[in-house]
Symmetry: C2
Subunit: 340 residues, 2 copies
DNA sequence: GTTCGTTGTCAAAGCGCTTTGGAATTTCGG
DNA sequence: CCGAAATTCCAAAGCGCTTTGACAACGAAC
């Protein structure tokens, strides 16, 4: 069933039917109802490809999914996607996901953009001096980034959380509890959030005249294995840390295993604060020792990003160009006074 | 830059350029090279929407992502998607993801199919008597399901793992170790895999004249919280179990917490076998007591499914209609002889 | 020298929709 | 009752691509 058949059936022109369907004012209400009823009965659906070709609008937003044989799927990615989806479904939008080798994200992004398959682009996992940003700016297609890119003038639309502030606050809390030996379990070094979180820690420490030694920070992709491994190394230092900052509850999972296996008690011998993306399957309050966390829902960010992106495409705006969300610092049992 | 401009630039007709690009034989090699070079220089990309409209092929496979405000994002979904993506990227395919309310998956699937946006459909989280199956069959569009639908004649293309066999074998192992009191922590009751796993357990027990009482099985969505909660209940039974079967390592995470908090030792007081989907962030060998598991990689399934689906669209076939993968039973420290 | 394949190219007809620019028809103020 | 404005509808022109059917041009075969 296509427009032509439908219009013939109704004895109307394609124009009128099309207008009736798309809510244009210049069509008689009675006619519109007749059309709508016929659509119901026949189950007619406009062909999206044709619609797209005619309007240039696709009703979809594009994103690149980094993937490769050795590449781990990231829990955070799935959670974020759910948030995007939750909002998209309300507007009858969908996503076009272009899987791409992590080494070719720029190329994949460009291909996605000029494929004509999407109205807007979304980009995450920002890095310092991210090479995708110049591309995006040159593309004349709406886009939104999750995070920011350290070292690049923030003159692009983004939504980010205050990573630096979060880890600054967390570090301050641990300092107030009397801790002086800190370690940081961070995400991959080149990622923007990792850079900023480290800055937060460093500047809080600096206020007390303390430093974060190189051998007390660890950059890695955020799996529990890596967390365990890094923590084990930290515990073997001549002066092991009493305070741990952790970029993810997933990393914390492994780190805590190392702590426990070393016979140490979390919240007594060692205090730990992790950043909590509110992953539904990994709640900090469910850890055997509930975790003190800096919290910001990844999923909520997804919802908001979809909202802005779709709004931009539909010209529902205006939206603020940039948003910086504060995180919450939630104290639970994994932090305590420094042992003496 | 579009075809028309490109062909004018080259002094050729659109036909010839199109053919040169799509590898048709009736074009002079020299001409083809000229065209290819011009494409390089101009960065011309065919408009996908137009291509789709003309050919009817979209180069994409569609899937429905269940999502709603209260709906948990599922780790398994992300992992599976990564597998799909890994294969898709090799063929320059992409996914169209339609987010949908879990209550309206049938509707979403139909809309996706007739939107003309996809060449093939993929469906997962199969249920018993799944209502999507009749729809899919009536749709005259290639599809593939992950899992099967208990109660429906398996005359559709699927890829599944031998859930029943896996849990039969696992149960047998525990029986051989002398266990007699079993509990099953299963996924949601209506899901096909849950039905089959339960069957596996029940039939292994039946061979020894044992039964699986109703109050010793628990159906729930697979989060660690639920695992913990269910396990706590089991441990309060008048005759608590010594052998636990668990449909996911995520559930096991919670269950083990309950076991530990009850002061029991895993692998001594209680034996546990979980199904392992090979989630990269949750490796059974990294549990404080390494887990005995039935293993089958969700991601590998994703790769294979994409391979079959894309192959079907491209007519690269023939592929087997149905595949049933065996799982591996891997013994680690969480299973031991029944306490006496 | 005519006929017949080949080979390389092209013009034009869609694919199913939106939208422009009118053309009928109705409404209404004066 | 007339002309103008408002209302309702339509024919046709794209959107950018693929594909069909035809047509030169050129040897080879008779």
């Amino acid at each position: 069933m296509n427009l032509k058949q439908l219009s013939e059936m109704l004895g109307l022109s394609q124009t009128t039917v099309s207008r009736a369907l798309n809510g244009y004012p210049e069509v008689n209400e009675a006619t519109r109802e007749r059309v709508l009823r016929a659509v119901q009965e026949t189950g007619y659906r406009p062909n999206k490809a044709a619609q797209r070709l005619a309007t240039g609008k696709a009703g979809s937003i594009g994103l690149v999914m980094p993937t490769a044989p050795g590449h781990y799927s990231d829990v955070h990615f799935g959670e974020f996607l759910t948030g995007l989806g939750e909002e998209a479904v309300r507007h009858d939008f969908h996503f076009v996901i272009m899987p791409a080798d992590p080494d070719d994200e720029v190329g994949a992004l460009r291909r996605l953009a000029i494929s004509g398959n999407v109205d807007a682009l979304f980009v995450a996992y920002m890095r310092g001096h991210d090479p995708r940003l110049p591309l995006l700016k040159s593309l004349s297609m709406p886009f939104l980034v999750h995070g920011r890119s350290y070292g690049i003038e923030p003159d692009y639309p983004y939504l980010d959380i205050d990573n630096e502030g979060a880890f600054y606050d967390a570090t301050r809390l641990l300092l107030q509890l009397g801790h002086t030996r800190f370690c940081l379990l961070n995400g991959p070094e080149h990622l923007d959030f990792a850079i900023r979180r480290k800055k937060g820690v460093v500047s809080a420490l600096a206020e007390r005249g303390l430093e974060l030694p190189e051998n007390c920070t660890s950059h890695m992709s955020m799996t529990d294995e890596h967390g365990q491994f890094a923590m084990e190394r930290f515990l073997q230092l001549p002066e092991p840390p009493t305070a741990i900052l952790c970029s993810s509850t997933v990393l914390a999972l492994g780190a805590i295993r190392a702590v426990t296996q070393a016979g140490l008690k979390l919240g007594e011998d060692i205090s730990l604060i992790a950043h909590d993306d509110v992953l539904p399957h990994l709640k900090p309050e469910n850890f055997s020792v509930p975790l003190t966390t800096t919290r910001s829902s990844l999923r909520a960010a997804g919802v908001r990003i979809a909202e802005r992106l779709i709004g931009t495409v539909k010209q529902d705006g205006p939206f603020p160009e940039q948003e910086l969300w504060k995180t919450e610092l939630i104290v639970r049992a994994s932090t305590g006074a420094a042992p003496r």
